[in-house]
């Protein structure tokens, strides 16, 4: 946590002296080919169209891409994964007990629609709207009261200390919205723009394109460089890759391992990969026999060949998780190896010790995620060799998530994306009775560690806490961690200054320019 304060301080000092954005990104864009050139339109292909433009309602990546650059938040992610800095917040003060956060807001920030200045009232209104709409209520469960002593000061009083609080505020969809615009649209932002971000909504033709145009009143002078950003949903893989190769679009924001391999052969295209946040696992329902027996779960964890699945389902582009679930590029990554390689003998021995043989289990998987269906088929083969007969059941998303939410599964392959704070990687998934603890996992020691982890401010201490928690969890195997994926974008070589971020954020579009 200490480190976050330092970043914050540096960032706010830079803003005070009139310097904008993060210095490293600036240097990046210059280094890539000279001085940023203003103007132009970037066309970005997405796999699907967004469902809504309401930041407080959106949960899918496509909607987030469309929405993100229309809005500003109190905080934002820095280029370094896991850290945040002030966006609308010029200064943040945290009380000693960690229960009071005082934000001083940047002055002169204006909303797109009404042209009104953003004030502390808007911040209070926005956070209350998030809580009220329910989708991400959970991020602010610790908030007791929000006060607005003056137009540019917001005070959050928390019921208990909440270490990931600033990270939650940086979540791209926890946007500050214009109360007047919301009210003008009868409370719905599904098709409206109530933001103060670098780009404003120009036109959304559902399933055709969404066009954003530069907001001339943006608070950072000279930003953004681009005149327009056009998002085009192209669901078909071949059509999408053809569009990039034919220069009908300039970028595909998120490419699969297969697409990346093909696009790397194209000379006009640059494929950029960074270690990502999308991690996948096999969830084991600890409430159902025989998976309520820790030895059976461990046997499965030993019997699964993560490298082989990575090779076939991910073309070897993912990083195998042999220990905990927090990825290696994160400060809270725990450096231990529990499942170095597949160990059939050990798996068989564990099953024998548990006295379980000829097991029959169902493995559920979402059919909208073909790579997870592939992985499921490989897991089936691998478990067969230790005497577990797996039936793979691929279900349509709605069905699949319904079964998952209700705990109606033996095993399930699932993935999570976009986590930043270690609390997100652990608390809601492994704490007893936590909302997304679909595995029904419960361990008092883990519960205590995770509770402590969210209240402790010091990063080093938190690192130790999450190290221990991850170790216990990996050993007891309510999930068999598989791998964490790369985040890969493919773009035309004319695109400069775009930062492919481990999370789904596209915030760097405000720094992006076109060299053509």
């Amino acid at each position: 946590m200490r480190k976050i304060w330092v970043v914050l301080l540096v960032a706010s000092m830079l803003m005070w002296t009139g310097c904008s954005g993060s210095p490293s990104r600036e240097a990046d864009s210059e280094g890539e080919g000279g001085k940023p050139r203003p103007g132009g339109t970037i066309r970005i292909a997405l796999q699907s169209d967004g469902k809504t433009l309401d930041p407080h309602k959106a949960t899918d990546a496509a909607s987030m891409h469309l929405i993100e650059n229309m809005y500003s938040r109190l905080m934002r992610y820095t280029e370094k994964y896991g850290e945040v800095e002030g966006e609308l917040a010029e200064k943040v003060e945290v009380s000693k007990d960690g229960k009071t956060y005082t934000f001083t807001l940047r002055k002169g920030v204006r909303f797109h629609g009404t042209g009104r200045e953003l004030t502390s009232e808007d911040v209070k209104y926005s956070i209350e709207r998030i809580i009220d709409l329910g989708v991400r209520k959970d991020h602010f469960s610790a908030v007791d009261e929000i006060e607005t002593p003056d137009s540019h000061t917001v005070v959050f009083r928390l019921k208990q200390p909440m270490a990931p609080f600033l990270t939650y505020l940086a979540y791209p969809m926890n946007a500050i919205v214009d109360r007047e615009t919301v009210e003008n649209h009868d409370g719905s932002l599904d098709r409206a723009d109530a933001g103060s971000g670098p780009f404003q909504l120009d036109e959304w033709k559902k399933d055709q394109y969404l066009r954003l145009k530069k907001f001339p009143g943006y608070y950072l002078p000279e930003k953004p460089y681009l005149d327009e950003v056009v998002f085009r949903p192209i669901p078909d893989e071949t059509a999408r890759m053809t569009a990039l190769r034919n220069r009908e679009v300039d970028m595909i924001l998120d490419v699969s391992a297969k697409e990346a391999r093909m696009l790397e052969q194209v000379s006009s295209v640059e494929v950029v990969s960074v270690p990502g946040t999308f991690w996948e696992y096999i969830g084991l329902n600890t409430k159902r026999p025989p998976l309520d027996d820790v030895k059976v779960r461990q046997a499965i964890a030993h019997a699964v060949d993560r490298e082989a699945i990575n090779k076939i389902a991910k073309l070897n582009r993912a990083t195998v998780l042999k220990g905990g679930n927090i990825p290696p590029n994160h400060w809270a990554h725990a450096d231990f190896t529990l499942y170095p390689r597949r160990n059939v003998a050990k798996a068989k021995q564990l099953l024998e010790e548990a006295g379980k043989e000829n097991l029959e289990l169902t493995l559920k998987v979402g059919s909208d995620f073909p790579y997870q269906v592939d992985a499921a088929q490989i897991v089936k083969q691998q478990l067969k060799e230790v005497g577990i007969d797996v039936k793979v059941s691929a279900q349509e998303s709605g069905l699949f998530f319904d079964a998952l939410g209700k705990g109606d599964f033996d095993m399930a392959i699932v993935g999570w994306l976009g986590f930043v704070d270690p609390d997100e990687f652990t608390y809601n998934l492994f704490h007893t009775g936590a909302p997304w603890n679909q595995q029904g996992y419960s361990n008092e020691q883990v519960d205590a560690l995770l509770e402590k982890g969210r209240t402790v401010g010091d990063q080093e201490e938190r690192k130790k806490i999450y190290h221990r928690a991850q170790k216990i969890i990996a050993e007891e195997a309510p999930m068999v961690f598989l791998y964490v994926n790369e985040r890969t974008a493919a773009m035309s070589k004319a695109v400069k200054g775009f930062d492919v971020h481990p999370t789904v954020t596209t915030h760097s579009l405000e720094e992006t320019w076109l060299a053509r």
């Binding site: 169209d49 469902k51 809504t52 309602k57 949960t59 899918d60 329910g134 989708v135 209520k137 959970d138 719905s188 599904d190 098709r191 033709k205 559902k206 399933d207 055709q208 085009r232 949903p233 192209i234 669901p235 078909d236 071949t238 059509a239 999408r240 053809t242 569009a243 190769r245 034919n246 009908e248 909208d368 349509e396 998303s397 709605g398 069905l399 998530f401 319904d402 079964a403 998952l404 939410g405 699932v414 999570w416 909302p435 997304w436």
Partner: protein, 314 residues
């Protein structure tokens, strides 16, 4: 007579549509998972879900929800999409031109290819034209549209660069650009219909050409061209029109796959999204709309018979 027939048909369609509305409403809800499950995805938890269900009125008994929906329908209100907040009718009407155009292009393509080929095949039975046509008929039906679509993109867009890989330009904005974007999907979709039309035309022609009055026409010395076109074709077209009517009905429901491949914002894509999102109002509205189109097209086809075959009267 015709007016009476029309009234009877329209009156009959009322119970049909009522039945469809009940079926649609119930089927949509029988599938596990609802709007809220999709909205929350993997972040689903019971407490939050319950809160959202109350918000969207999904916690009410099904018959009450149905009564509400129907009473709103009576007033012309199809409801709003849960995700985009757009009125359902507006969403359908916005996409209808795309689907109508796609349907028109594929039907035109099907007729232009299917009928002449079917006639030639029938007239030159067991000759090479016939074999070629039969081969086309067989492959046209068996080649899946998505494969043909992908092949067309790879060939005409990536290799030769004649057409854009997808997307949609309204015809009133840029007629040429519109044709460029619609040609490939039209062909991809129309090929299967062309194959069906060809086969029906061929078999129907063969049957008609074998009848006494055709022999009579030939004996009377009518040229073969006139025999085929004037005497045989008109009678042979009735089954073709019937089949085409059914095909158009399907096409209006939107070819989900073709629209998906060519990123066309048509009705099919709308329905697909409504299903995956469990967007109840949108799904019910669009399926009801498609059902009504089916009923109307069937009626039109029945009326069309009287034009083709004067002996048919209602």
């Amino acid at each position: 007579m015709l007016a009476k027939y029309l009234l009877k048909r329209l009156a009959l369609s009322v119970p049909v549509l009522f039945g469809i509305s009940v079926l649609v409403f119930l089927l949509v809800r029988l599938v596990p998972g609802d709007t809220v499950t999709v909205m929350l995805g993997a972040q689903y938890n019971e407490e939050q879900a319950q809160m959202l269900r109350e918000k969207y009125g999904l916690d009410r008994p099904v018959h009450i929800q149905y009564a509400l929906w129907v009473s709103n329908l009576m007033r012309g209100d199809f409801g709003h999409s849960t995700f985009t907040g757009q009125p359902v009718l507006a969403a359908i009407l916005e996409r209808l031109p795309v689907t109508l155009e796609l349907t028109a292009i594929s039907v035109l393509f099907a007729l232009a290819v299917g009928i002449p080929l079917g006639i030639r095949a029938a007239v030159r039975r067991n000759r090479w034209v016939d074999y070629l046509a039969t081969l086309f008929g067989l492959s046209g039906i068996s080649i899946p549209g998505f494969w043909l679509g992908t092949l067309l993109i790879l060939l005409f867009s990536l290799k030769w660069g004649w057409f854009p890989s997808g997307g949609y330009v309204p015809i009133w904005e840029d007629p040429l650009g519109n044709l460029q974007t619609m040609a490939m999907p039209g062909i991809a979709l129309g090929t299967a219909v062309a194959a069906v039309v060809m086969r029906i035309t061929r078999s129907s022609m063969l049957e008609v050409l074998d009848q006494e009055y055709i022999k009579m026409a030939r004996i009377k010395g009518a040229p073969e061209r006139i025999v085929v076109r004037r005497h045989a074709l008109r009678n042979a077209l009735i089954p073709v029109v019937t089949v085409l009517g059914i095909q158009v009905g399907y096409l209006l429901g939107g070819s989900v796959v073709i629209e998906q491949i060519f990123s066309l914002p048509g009705v099919g894509q709308l329905v697909l999204q409504a299903i995956t999102n469990r967007d109840y109002a949108l799904l019910q509205g669009s399926i009801l709309f498609i059902a009504v189109s089916f009923v109307v097209i069937n009626l039109l086809v029945d009326l069309l018979y009287t034009l083709i075959h004067p002996r048919i009267r209602y």
